[in-house]
Amino acid sequence: MRMKSPPTRSATASSRDRRAFMLTAGTVLSGSLAAAAVAVTPHDRRDPARDDAEAIHDLDRRYGEMLNARRYTDLVDLFAADAQVELYGGVFVGRRGVSRLYAKRLDAGPGGARLDDGEPAHAFMLVKPGAAEPIEFGPDRRTARAQFTRPMQVEAGVALSGSLADMARQQGQGTVRWWEDGVYDVDYVKERGVWKIRRLAYRSAPLSVPPPGSSGAAPRRAFRFTSTFPHDPRGPDRLVGGASHSAVET
C-alpha cells in the first residue's frame, strides 16, 4: 500500500507565520472503511477502494494546504462545478459562488477590506497526525461522504479605527486569532475519474485539544452572514436559517 509522507513544519513556527501552513503527516486509512473496500490480492496490485479513499484523503490534504498557503484560486479547482459551501449561515453555490467565497472574500484577508468588521478568516488548518476518518462511499462509488474535524486557527480583524488601527495594519496586524475545532461535513463526487468536493459545510466547535504552542485564546463571538450576493458583492448566494452557524460563543 502506497503511503504519502508530506513535509512537516513545527507548530511554533506556524503560529508566527501569517501566511500559515498546514501540518501534514502521512495519511493512514482507518480500519472502518466503507463496505466497498476490497482487499488486495496477489493478483490485484491496485485496490480501487483504497485508491478512492487515498484520493479523497489527498483531496482533503490539498484543500488544507491551499487554504493554509492562501492559494484561494487554486483551491476553487478542487470543487465540482455544481459545488456548494456552507459556513457562517451562508451558502455559496456553484463555481462562481465558491470562487466568490475563496478568491474574493477570504482573499481580502486580514489587512484587507474585512479588517474592521470582525469577520473570521480561516488562517490555517492543523491536520492531526495519523487521522483517518472513515469515508462512506455510495453504491456506485462515484459519490462519497466524510466528516472530519481539524483544529483551525481563525483570525478576524479587530473592530477599531484611529492611529492604533492604522499602525497595526501597517505592521500587518490588527487581527485577533483563536483556535477552534472546525467540523467539516463533506460530500465528494468523482468527475471524469477525479474526486472533487461537491458540498462542504463548516461549523465551529469548542476546541477539544489545544495544539502545541497555542495560547488558548478564547474563541470569538459567532459571525453570520446577513446579506447575499449581489447586495453584498462577495456575499453568499443564499442564507441558511440556523444551519452552519458557529457553536462557539464568547
Binding site: 477599531l160 479605527s161 492611529s163 496586524q173 486569532r177
Partner: protein, 574 residues
Amino acid sequence: MRTIKYPKEQLHRIAFTKLTPSEIGAKLGAAEAGPACASAYSDALSGKSLTIATDDGLTLHYTFDGPRSLSIAEGAGAPVRAGYGALTLSHRIFFSHVVPGTQKAYHVVVDLDRHLATVFEAWFSGYVESREVQRQIHFGYIEAADRAPPKARHTLTNRLEGKGYHWVQDNGFDTLEIYPSALYSTFVELGLGGELCFCAPSDYVKLDDDLYVYSRVEAGFSGTMTVYVLDVNEERQAGVRLGFDEHDALQYYLFNGRGEMVGQIALFEPFDDEGTTIDIANRPKNPPKGWRPVYRPLLTSPPMTHAEVEAAIAKRISVFPERNGMAGNSLPYTDYLVGKRLTARYDGGPVLEYRFDTREKLRWRPQGERRWREESYRAWEPAPDLVFFGHLLSGTPRHDCVAIAIDFGNGLTTCVHGMLGTKYMANEASRETTFGIVEMEGLTPPQYLRHRFTEELVGRAMTWHYTKGLTSMHVYTTPWSFSWIIFLPNDAGGLEWSGPAQYVKLRDDLYLFNWLEEACNGTLGVLVINTRMMHDCGIGYNVNKEGLSIGGIGAEARDAGRFDLRRFYGAQWT
C-alpha cells in the same frame, strides 16, 4: 538665566518645502567638500586604503588622502574624489561623505580591530517627498589579501531598545532620545524648549556589547537623517546629520556628543530574541532597496475640509458603539450617577447642570438656559466615588463633546471640553481643560482646592492591552506630550507616533490624561488612569469620512518602567 527661543511652529506644523530633485541636487553641491564639524576631525584614516565588501554585494574602494579628502570607487566603477570627515569613538572610526554628482551619501563605521564595517547608504529623491533621506544598511567587512573574510558581522539589534539618553552635541544641539521600539525612536529637542516629543523611523545596529549605531530619519518632517555611533559605557556619541532644515538650508555636519542615560524600560519580546531581524508581518517578499515601515498618518487620514466634515457628520454619528476594539478591556459601566442632579461649575469655564436619568441617558443644559438637552452617555467609576463620564454636546456648532471627572469624595471636577476644527485641519479636535467644583445636595465642595496639572507621570512607560491582538505602550515623555508604540508580533516595539497631551492629578495614583492626535487623524482621547489598579477608562472623540464618533476606551496596563525626565522640564526653562 538662559533664554530659550521657542519655535514659532512645532515640528509637526511646519509646512516643509517640497523640494524638487533638481533643487536638492543643486544644494548638495556644497556637501561635496565634506561635512562640517565643531570638533577636530580625526585623521585615523589618512593615508589608508580600504575596501569594504558587504554581504549584499556593495563594494566600496576607498583611498584616504588626508583627513578631508578621499577617493571612492563603487564596485567596478571609476574612482571619484570627495570631501569627507571622520571621527573616532572608542577605537571605531565613523566617516561620512557624499558621492559627488549624485544625491547619495555613505555613512560608514569601520572596526579596524575586527575588520568589520557597516555602511549606511543614504540618498535623496527616493520617495515622493524628495527631501526625505532614504537609507539602506549594508553589513560587511574590510577586505585584505592576507586574511580570510571574518565570519562575524555587525547586526541589527534590540539591545538598545528600552534605553533613553540625554545627549548634548559639540555644537550645542541638546536632545532627549528614547529608544522604545525596534524600528522607531522618540526625540525631544530641548534646545528649542522641549515642549513636544516627536517620533522617527530608526535603526539600531550592534557593533559589540559597548558600541552601537543608531539612525533616524525625520520622516514626515524635514526628512533629515541622523546617524551616530554610541558607546553605552562611556555615554558618548559620534555621528553625522544630513538633510535640509525648515529653511531648506543644507545641514551636513559631524558631531561628537556627551550623554547621560536617563533610564531603561522593560522589553517584552522573548528572551532569546536579540532583534537581529524585525518581525514585520507584512514585509514584502522582495522589499525594494531602502524599504522600511513608516507611519505616515496624513496618508491614511488625509485632512478634511469643513464641508467634508459636515457631510460626514450628517451621514453618521456613532455614540458608544457596542463593538469597539479600543474598549475590549473596559471597566464596567457604572450607574453611580443615575438619579443624581448636580451642577458642574468650572473656573472661567462652563457651568453645566445635569440630570442623570438612566445609566445611558442624561439631560444637560448650560446654567441659565431653560431647555434640557438629552444625550447618550457612558460612565465608569475608576476609583471609589470618583466617576468619569463623557457625551457629545449635540447641536453645538463644532460638534463638541465633554469628558468629565467628578470626585464625589471632595466635590472637585475636571472637564475636558473637545471641539472639532483647528486652524490646521477641519477634522482635528482641540480641547480646553478646566477645573472646578460640583454643587449637589449633600456635597460641600472646597473653595480653593482644585485638581491641577501634574508632572508625576512624566517619564513613565506603561503598556496598554485593549483587546486581543491590540496592545500599545505609552511613554509620557514631556509634560505636554507623549508617544505611543504598537507592538510587533514578537512583542518588540513597532511603529510609534506622538501627540500633545495633558496630565491632571485627581488623587494619589489617579490621573486624568488627555491627548490630541494633531497632524494625524485628529482624535481627542481622554482617560482616567488608576495606577493602583493599572486600569483606565475613557473616551475617544473623532471625525473621519465615516462620520463623527464618541466611544469608550478601556485597557489593562503593565508598568514598563520609568525614565528620569522630569528634571529636564523644570523651572530653569523660561
